[in-house]
């Protein structure tokens, strides 16, 4: 049964944020090629302004949006769930474009394409979370990935950057093709690319897993392949191997964008696909089936625990700051996975809002941390070792102080936002979803994480020798300072008064159900 679609103008009105993103991205591209001066810093501010305009539209839509309807032949749906995540991507984009100004200047890379690519990637992410059709999801995924491949190879003469780009491209393509194959199988089994239709089809056809397995094993295989595709993008073990190398090699500011926005997009789509298509009881509990006596919820659970342990343990012994943050990003993916599993089990607004609050907090924390690290990066190495940070706090006290805030937020120490995000996530997983063992393991692992997070601060504040870094390299202009202030402010603000955010997020859950 297909709901009646509104008229075309109304439909276009509903996707104004997406249209604006495309228009702005194209105009940045044109401004860049027609600009006379060599200086490209103003493009960063312009991009931030453009994104802020889009953010206002998103916020307006969020307030007015009460019924979510599928539009454009049921290929996308504009609902509060998608809008809240679009907001998160745009915030990450604003911080990236403000923070990148100094970084690009440090490397003498005066290119406007950077900002245009960031905006196109955000377009892809937003489209992806709005999609309710497998085809749109795939197109959006590629629209998101291609700019990121290009961005991670931004330093064309730097071998690490190139390696990162090529590695990410090849592995990403493999993951995309697995995902696409899974989608094809699902389409073959159900005869539709629409997530809702697929979900209804599965629900009406199959009452328990035995019937699925005997008549249509393809559904299970397709579902697993879709999962693998998303797990790759979210850097969940055992598909996390690419993360450290890619994060290390990519330009620091791009790493930040990748670890925050791309991950959030992949998780959100994961949630959307699952919530709409595979929420059939038969699929939820493989326990009835013949494969083994475990449900795949438990499989995801084990993978989440493995991700947390691998991320935190391997990070302990790293000396490269970007690798530390890369492994910590894996660990955070593990925490999020626990939250996601919790949501899969309960499907209530509490676990849902815990997950989204974590993303909100992680956006500010992660972007802020990477911007601060990018300022401390010694010139022309694209590599930040712990020793490079020695005593840096006394050269750039403001940047270091904000970095300390972000590091404490990562480690989950109050009153930073990371504390309540982690607290709420674990509380909801423990209390509401009953995931006792994973939460306890994650908490123990997060004690280990305190060690490597604090090592960064030890080098920043407590080493007396100042390293070889020339003070000139630590140049900060308004862009970075604004970005760090915004991120720092919100990390503290969400950390002290998270209530209103949780309430807003809970509102977006209702619309997800209406899907």
């Amino acid at each position: 049964m297909m709901p009646i679609e509104p008229g075309i103008l109304e439909q276009l009105g509903m996707i104004i944020p997406l249209l604006l993103l495309v228009v702005f991205a194209s105009s940045i591209l044109l401004i860049d090629v027609f600009a006379e001066s060599e200086d490209r810093a103003y493009l960063g501010y312009l991009t931030a302004f453009f994104l802020f305009v889009v953010l206002i539209f998103v916020a307006k839509d969020f307030n007015n949006n009460n019924v979510s309807r599928q539009i454009f032949h049921s290929s996308i749906v504009i609902d509060k769930f998608g809008l809240i995540f679009t907001g998160i991507f745009i915030i990450a984009g604003i911080l990236t474009s403000l923070g990148s100004i100094d970084y690009l200047k440090k490397y003498d890379i005066a290119i406007g394409e950077f900002y245009s690519l960031i905006m196109f990637a955000i377009t892809g992410m937003s489209l992806m979370v709005f999609s309710t059709s497998l085809m749109t999801i795939f197109v959006a995924l590629e629209l998101m990935s291609l700019p990121i491949y290009a961005l991670s190879g931004l330093f064309r003469v730097n071998n690490r950057s190139l390696e990162s780009s090529v590695k990410y491209f090849i592995l990403g393509s493999v993951a995309s093709s697995i995902l696409l194959f899974g989608m094809v199988l699902l389409y073959g089994a159900t005869g539709s690319v629409n997530l809702v239709t697929i979900g209804n089809e599965i629900t009406t056809k199959y009452t328990n897993l035995k019937t699925v397995l005997s008549s249509d094993p393809i559904i299970i295989i397709g579902m697993l392949m879709v999962f693998i595709g998303f797990m790759f993008k979210t850097a969940t073990a055992p598909f996390h191997m690419w993360t450290p190398d890619v994060y290390e090699g990519a330009p620091t500011i791009v790493t930040g964008f990748m670890s925050v926005a791309v991950k959030a997009a992949a998780f959100a789509t994961f949630l959307r696909v699952f919530g709409l298509s595979f929420n059939n009881d038969a699929l939820l509990h493989l326990a009835n089936g013949a494969i083994s006596n475990t449900s795949w919820i438990q499989v995801l659970n084990i993978l989440a625990i493995a991700t947390v342990i691998i991320g935190n343990l391997v990070a302990l012994n790293q000396r490269n700051v970007k690798r530390i943050l890369a492994y910590s990003a894996i660990a955070h993916a593990g925490y999020l996975m626990i939250g996601l599993v919790g949501y899969f089990i309960t499907k209530d607004p509490i676990t849902y809002s815990a997950l989204v609050l974590y993303f909100l907090s992680y956006t500010f924390t992660g972007m802020g941390a990477f911007i601060a690290i990018s300022i401390f990066e010694p010139k022309d190495t694209n590599k930040v070792m712990l020793d490079d940070l020695n005593g840096a706090a006394y050269k750039k006290p403001f940047v270091a102080a904000t970095l300390a805030i972000f590091i404490f937020s990562f480690a989950g120490i109050p009153p930073m936002s990371g504390f309540f995000a982690k607290f709420y996530l674990f509380k909801s997983a423990y209390v509401n979803a009953g995931l006792h063992i994973p939460v306890i393991i994650a908490l123990i692992a997060s004690v280990f994480s305190v060690y490597y997070y604090l090592r960064i601060l030890v080098h920043l504040y407590m080493k007396k020798d100042y390293g070889d870094v020339d003070v000139k390299d630590y140049k900060t202009t308004a862009g970075s300072v604004i970005a760090l202030s915004i991120a720092g402010f919100f990390v503290l603000y969400i950390g002290i008064l998270p209530d209103q955010y949780i309430t807003i997020i809970k509102h977006s859950f209702l619309s997800l159900i209406g899907g």
Partner: protein, 119 residues
């Protein structure tokens, strides 16, 4: 069930048979006048000289080729659009203009970046 595949099998058999038959026939029946020039490795109008396969080509070749591919592929979208244009009506026209607008932005970008200049 299996009889539905018979036409496909037939199709494959005929295609394979016809192809190999024609090649075989030309080998058997065709006249042969071998010469040095004919045996020389042939590559897109270039003669292979001492550099062998390592010879450097201008990057412009790749640029042009990629841009040609891109624009050529985008044009393919116009065919299905043309077939349903009447049904969708004026909306389709605006949609296509928007699409072409993005292409034009790309075109201007490529132009201003100097990809189209040979020298």
């Amino acid at each position: 069930m299996s009889e539905t595949y018979i036409p496909m099998v037939l199709m494959i058999a005929i295609a394979f048979g016809l192809g190999s038959a024609l090649v075989l026939l030309s080998v058997v029946l065709g006249p042969k006048y071998p010469s040095d020039v004919k045996d020389y490795p042939f590559e897109c109008g270039h003669l292979i000289d001492s550099d062998g396969a390592r010879k450097k080509h201008s990057i412009k070749f790749y640029m042009i080729a990629i841009i040609f591919l891109l624009f050529d592929l985008e044009i393919v979208f116009m065919y299905p659009w043309a077939t349903v244009f009447r049904e969708i009506g004026i909306t389709a026209l605006f949609e296509m203009f928007f699409f072409l607008g993005i292409l034009v932005v790309g075109y201007i970008y490529v132009w201003k970046k100097g990809v189209l200049e040979w020298e």
